[in-house]
Amino acid sequence: MGDLLHLTIDEAAAGLRRGDFTSAELTEAALARAEAVEPDIGSFILATPDEARAMAKAADARLKAGDAPLLCGIPGAIKDLICTRGVQTTAGSRILEGYRPIYDAEVIRRLKADGFVLVGKSNLDEFAMGSSCETSAYHLTRNPFALDCVPGGSSGGSATAVAADEAFFSLGTDTGGSIRQPASLCGVVGMKPTYGRVSRWGVIAMASSLDQVGPFARNVKDCATVLECLAGRDEHDSTSSPRPVPSYREACGQDVKGLRVGVPREYFIDGMEPAVEQAVRAAIAQLASLGAEPVEISLPHTDYALPTYYVIMPCEVSANLARFDGIRYGVPRPGGTMWEAYSNARGLGFGAEVKRRIMLGTYALSAGYHDAYYVRAQKVRTLIRDDFATAFETVDAVLCPASPTTAFPLGSKVEDPVTMYLSDVFTLAASLAGLPGMVVPCGFDENSKPIGLQLIGRHWEEATLFRLAYAFEQSTPWQLAANRQRIRIGGAR
């Protein structure tokens, strides 16, 4: 049944409708694959075989009745930051160990309405704070292409579940790069939609002016299929847009001739790995050969995205994580007074990176510092947003690397926060500007570790990114199953 897991969602959907196999069989294949590779990879905090089998059974009944949506009966994995009714949701933190949400996130409601099959809750950096999955309080997740290396983060387990064929697609969240960077490091497709495109209702909040939910998949069209299911207005999230959702699937296959693509000189910097620059430049040349028109552009405040992000994000984190006190949910700890009990629950329940960010935000928002840090960072955010607005007057999309390096060794950055933060240097600016960003595989380094091309679009123009990414993918071999043979599961660590 191994070959079933190499199908695209379209192929699997067709097979289910022809009766070549059932969702139950597809699901058993995914569960068997997970059982085989989890000891090496560690994608899931919680595998959910019981839920998966029940959902597959329901999907098969629906498929038999006809008129089922494309995602009906398709196994998917969900980042453990997204609430699933009755199924433990930890945010990768000890403080939420055993927490069972009493409602589904809006994105889960939508996937369930289409009949998807939940195979597991995937590992992440604690409360989505990290770039390597190493701040998870539960376990490490390993890159399937190099078991001694990180998968990226924070949605690391969502990326590896898809890369290692444990699921056909997965959901992640992206605040400063948490979908795009792990997609790049794990050789899969990932999409962070425009801020406001997908509801965050039921997604444990990190930095509310930045957080978005988006899909991972093994190819561009599968990614489009999942985003079409997720996108659209939800009255539970006041930032979600009532704009109609275009067909992202239809964008896949449209001609890219005449599309102007900006290549920002600030994204080709000293310190990036030569293999990354080479692969990204080759990808741009490939798109040019398909008819896109590359234009060199400048995004002059790029260099300030990192310090801007590391003021704004922790300020919002310190406010959002104030709710975790061990009383209504979460693991309580004793203390002499109520305040001491709070401090103990939080001090023992949160890991080091979460504490660092809460303290940074608390400090930056405290009396006497608010204007110097928070307000100043919000003003620089305007400059960064304006850089893109100017660029998008002349180009239709921006092309650049997703990460300055390929997957780095486990443990190599975890004790040095600023070095770790630099892993997201290419994804932060688009996040601050609220723009859609997509990653598509564009090659491998000399050690067979994947490299990703990042495409950034105008607000609400995800379709343009799908158009470019699909044209690129179809004309290159990087998404082919043959390239996933480079995965080194069960080999020497």
């Binding site: 006041s238 080091a352 601050l432």
Partner: protein
């Protein structure tokens, strides 16, 4: 920008985070490193720039109609709490009695 251990202790109390001695020392160094990095924002002249609070114009940022609808059942809301009593969350006394 060098944060002292005393400042770290004060911030941790504001954030209600109990820290060990070792954490207080380690965080003083690490937080100082991050603050030093973000000082770069002071290089820019932002006098005439308006702050941006949201990532994109919040198009959907309207309140919904205020109509009654079913809420989650009380027993479900309490199900994740460690300590409940008579259909409510049980917490420690907020006000202390004075002798």
């Amino acid at each position: 920008m060098q944060l002292s251990r005393e400042e770290v202790t004060r911030i941790a109390w504001l954030a209600r985070l109990a820290l060990s001695e070792e954490e207080t020392t380690r965080f003083a160094g690490q937080l100082s490193g991050v603050l030093a990095h973000v000082q770069r924002l002071a290089e820019l002249n932002v006098d005439d720039i308006e702050p941006t609070a949201m990532a994109a114009e919040a198009e959907g940022n309207v309140v919904r109609a205020d109509v009654p609808r079913p809420a989650s059942p009380q027993d479900e809301i309490l199900a994740n709490a460690a300590d409940t009593e008579a259909g409510a969350f049980r917490v420690r006394a907020i006000l202390e009695e004075t002798a």
